[in-house]
């Protein structure tokens, strides 16, 4: 700098770039470093009372999601409760009215179950390994976000 000269003005585009990068990187960093947690190991789904009657009446709107995502070790128990008035098939078994089936999944797997509570008769239970590395957590959160945004 020449003595006596006025200081060079701050480059506004650089400052803006830093702000934009910060806004983008902060959530990415948090999503990568923050551990994946759940309030409970259990995911409960209930076949509501009247499901069979509604199907018989021509209402084929699914009350349960067609895909259920679980994570080994921290959110790995699927409990399905049949609150309907008639037996419902879930996977390879019949659930009587008022009965529930609790299945712990201990390994990453993709499980296709027959399910009479679904219009297409199918339920996918996707069990993933616990994401522990930052890139795994980021990828897991992104996939979950995309799934929640996509129409089922």
């Amino acid at each position: 700098m020449i003595p006596g000269a006025a200081p060079a003005p701050a480059r506004p585009h650089r400052r803006l770039a830093v702000i934009v990068a910060g806004l983008f990187l902060t959530p990415v960093l948090i999503a990568s470093l923050w551990p994946v947690t759940f309030d409970s190991r259990e995911e409960l789904f209930e076949i509501p009372k009247g499901t069979f009657a509604r199907h018989m009446a021509g209402d084929h709107h699914d009350l349960l999601p067609s895909e259920i995502d679980l994570v080994v070790g921290i959110h790995n128990v699927l409990t399905l409760k049949n609150s309907d008035d008639v037996p419902q098939t879930f996977g390879p078994t019949l659930l009587m009215p008022g009965q529930s089936l609790r299945i712990p999944f201990t390994r990453a797997s993709e499980n296709n179950f027959n399910c009479t509570a679904h219009a297409n008769g199918q339920l996918l239970v996707l069990v993933e390994d616990t994401p522990t590395w930052p890139w795994e957590r980021l990828s897991w959160r992104l996939r979950r976000l995309l799934r929640s945004l996509s129409p089922s």
């Binding site: 470093l33 994946v36 070790g73 879930f90 996977g91 019949l94 009965q99 609790r102 590395w133």
Partner: protein, 204 residues
């Protein structure tokens, strides 16, 4: 600016390692059954079929024992051999307690599985294993009552005219004849043994 970048370059790997090791979730263990469990348990659907022992075989005859109900067929090339091998290992692991456990293997292929064939096939795994067959409509009724399914499909083995696509889970029935557990295909032997022991020691 350079200092900030350098600090970030040093901090990031550190944060990565800390977040991986410090926040690793503890391995969850199942206190109760490791397989699927029914709550409340209901009586297991009853059946009477032609047993591989040459007599009629009823589920009711095995009250007082823990019963494993399996649906399969002797020409099965993928699912049944794995499950039967796991069960053979599980029975060995149970030792003397295995005498209180009965496997009933119900065929989904009555056209090819007669009692003699079932006996020969199952004896190769464990002489105590029992098979059951019957009229197609009777077997279909049993399948339906358990929520199981079976259908004829094209066989990948040219030597076989067809194969059967069938439910691969095991059904656990307690000493009181109640359907208690659902063991998915390829469950580790240790988990099967764990659940059988729970049923064997359960009081009521």
């Amino acid at each position: 600016m350079k200092k900030t970048l350098l600090a970030a370059a040093l901090l990031l790997p550190l944060l990565t390692l800390v977040s991986h090791f410090a926040f690793k979730p503890p391995v969850a263990t199942e206190q109760g059954f490791r397989s699927g469990t029914f709550e409340p348990p209901h009586q297991a659907p009853a059946f009477t079929l032609d047993g591989s022992g040459g007599k009629k075989l009823s589920l009711h005859d095995y009250l007082g024992k823990v019963v494993i109900v399996e649906f399969g067929y002797t020409y099965c090339e993928d699912v049944c051999p794995v499950t039967l091998s796991h069960l053979t290992a599980a029975f060995k692991s149970l030792g003397n307690a295995a005498s209180d456990v009965q496997l009933i293997y119900i065929t989904v292929d009555p056209a090819r599985d007669n009692p003699e064939r079932l006996r020969e096939h199952l004896t190769a795994f464990n002489p105590g294993f029992l098979g059951a067959t019957g009229a197609p409509e009777d077997l279909q009724s049993v399948l339906k009552s358990y929520g199981a399914v079976a259908r004829q499909v094209h066989s990948r083995n040219p030597a076989l005219p067809y194969a059967m696509d069938h439910s691969s889970s095991l059904y656990l029935v307690d000493r009181q004849g109640r359907l208690r557990g659902l063991v998915p295909f390829n469950t580790p032997v240790d988990d099967i043994v764990h659940d059988l022991r729970l049923l064997l020691t359960a009081t009521a």
